[in-house]
Symmetry: C2
Subunit: 338 residues, 2 copies
């Protein structure tokens, strides 16, 4: 807790700014091509390794924050529903807000609206904390830089540090004790032909949170020792693929990284398995398409859903193979959420 | 090749024994509770780690061998079918036989009859080579000890070294350069209540042989570095569970070892995945039953099929949950194949 407050003090101006009457922000969800798994500091969400993601355009979280004058407690709404105070999500948000309160007395009404399923491996907590910190920044007129917002978003959820930008974002692990160098860095490269297909098999809440799964993996999976080596290889391959626009290399490395992450979890004791039979059926379908010469790859996060990667030229084939697929073109989004 | 001949010379008596007119043998298939994956010597099939299995009673391979006087080439039959000379299985058998021929001229008719599916992850090659070496031993009246037969069986297929006995068998990795200490050792413990359920989802030949899969894993999976550590832990837990008759410990360690083996393969580049959607559906079914308090566990080898472990008291429940299950009670087999 102490370290968290120290980070806040280093970033947020101590001079008092006028609080606006309300503020809004949007942050996209992001899908890691090279996954973040394991922390070097649990309180600051400092990662054991760097990671790299692509933001999901207009898929993510809207956050509206309104200071309450007379209320005794905060009111947290998720998708138009007021959450009970003992809800795990409310507690995460309140815990996060506690870092930023000037006095114990100010309370907020905060409304989150997500256009992706919550807690189903679609990085809902990433966009939630990235939207919240941007709304707080606007409300208090802190005028922070994106990299500073990324550091603060990370305190809520590690992968939130990557949801401050569009396009490809690398979250560098950093070395600083307080993590002042552990934040997202947007990549310059754009890839307009790149398509992401959300293959949502289940909107059910996952049986174990990614935070818990991460902890159990690190404590019990003997393979975890070699995870940083795998990440280093994959990260370099993915950055190289992006700079060369080599889709085959991007896709195959991304898929290998995801399969290895789930392999790590299968090696935990007891094993953590997010995949459903339908997940594996979809993987086999992808491999079958590849055998037929169609370049399509997948990634999977802490949930049963898959995200497919393909190029726009193959969109019709992929859509006919996966009729329920929701296709996102991260670099063609007209929607401007800034 | 040289080393293989050296091993043969050390074991098989050089004095000429009278060859019988024919010989028969049976060897059971075996299911590894702690898997063998990775070799320290590819020609001698010397393993990187020790492993431990349970033999499948009367499920396995019968082998009948008859010397041919006039024939120019061997005749290899598998399940009543004469195999073409260029068949991969024929070539494996001929390659193996070449170690034992006194002169290039003697040829054999060899008939294998298996009551398990071939090359579907049910250790068919283990029982085939174990049956063949026993038939050769009988034919030539070598009168070798089981541990010697185990060493010779290993030259055909690593896991064949465990198929010389009933019950639990440990295959010790050994340290000798020629592998003279790398053979099966039967465990004394019996466990009459132990049931194995064969859940055969697919009899299709596997897309990649375990020999190939092993090689690819070792060459490309960064997690492989930690596999010996996982095996050492699991082996000690399984031996301890057997001596204490602690079924929970036996089952959970066996399951974890199998999931970790498949995790290793998922970490290979490109990933090797033997599971079908039905495999994962069966795993989820097993986990669901466990949540309901029924102690049932699984293991999986280089194929999509699962082998369930449970105790006789739960047989009715397990059979109603998996109607197609073929149940084997390795310690209650009346069938005497010795």
């Amino acid at each position: 807790m102490n370290n968290q407050i120290q980070v806040i003090k280093k970033i947020i101006p101590s001079t008092f700014n006028i609080e606006k009457k309300e503020a809004c922000a949007f942050a996209p969800s992001n899908i890691a091509l090279c996954k973040y798994w394991g922390k070097r500091d649990e309180y600051l969400n400092l990662p054991a390794t760097s990671s790299l993601s692509i933001s999901l355009g207009s898929k993510g979280a809207f956050c509206k924050i309104v200071p309450l004058k007379e209320a005794r407690e905060d009111l947290i709404h998720l998708n138009e529903k007021l959450l009970p105070m003992n809800h795990i999500f409310t507690q995460q948000i309140l815990n996060y807000l506690s870092f930023f309160r000037r006095s114990g007395k100010n309370t907020y009404q905060i409304q989150f609206n997500l256009n992706i399923p919550v807690a189903a491996g679609l990085a809902s907590s990433a966009c939630i904390f990235a939207a919240l910190i941007q709304a707080l920044n606007a409300l208090h007129q802190w005028k922070l830089k994106p990299s500073e917002l990324s550091i603060l978003a990370r305190l809520g959820s590690g992968s939130a540090s990557r949801s401050l930008w569009k396009g490809f974002v690398k979250w560098q692990a950093g070395e600083d004790f307080l993590g002042m160098d552990s934040h997202g860095i947007p990549l310059e490269e754009k890839w307009p032909e790149l398509c992401i297909g959300l293959y949502i098999l289940s909107q059910a809440k996952k049986p174990i949170s990614s935070r818990e799964a991460m902890k159990k993996t690190i404590n019990t999976a003997v393979f975890y020792k070699s995870w940083p080596e795998k990440v280093a290889k994959d990260l370099s391959n993915i950055e190289d693929a992006i700079s060369k626009k080599d889709f085959e290399q991007l896709g195959s490395t991304t898929e290998s990284n995801a399969l290895s992450l789930h392999a790590l979890m299968a090696n935990a004791v007891p094993a953590i398995v997010y995949s459903l039979p339908e997940t594996l059926a979809c993987m086999h379908h992808v491999w079958h398409l590849r055998q037929e010469g169609i370049p399509v790859f997948f990634t999977q996060d802490a949930g049963p859903n898959l995200k497919l990667f393909f190029l726009e030229k193959d969109e019709a084939i992929i859509k006919s193979a996966f009729p329920k697929l929701e296709v996102i073109k991260p670099f063609q989004e007209k929607f401007d959420y800034a």
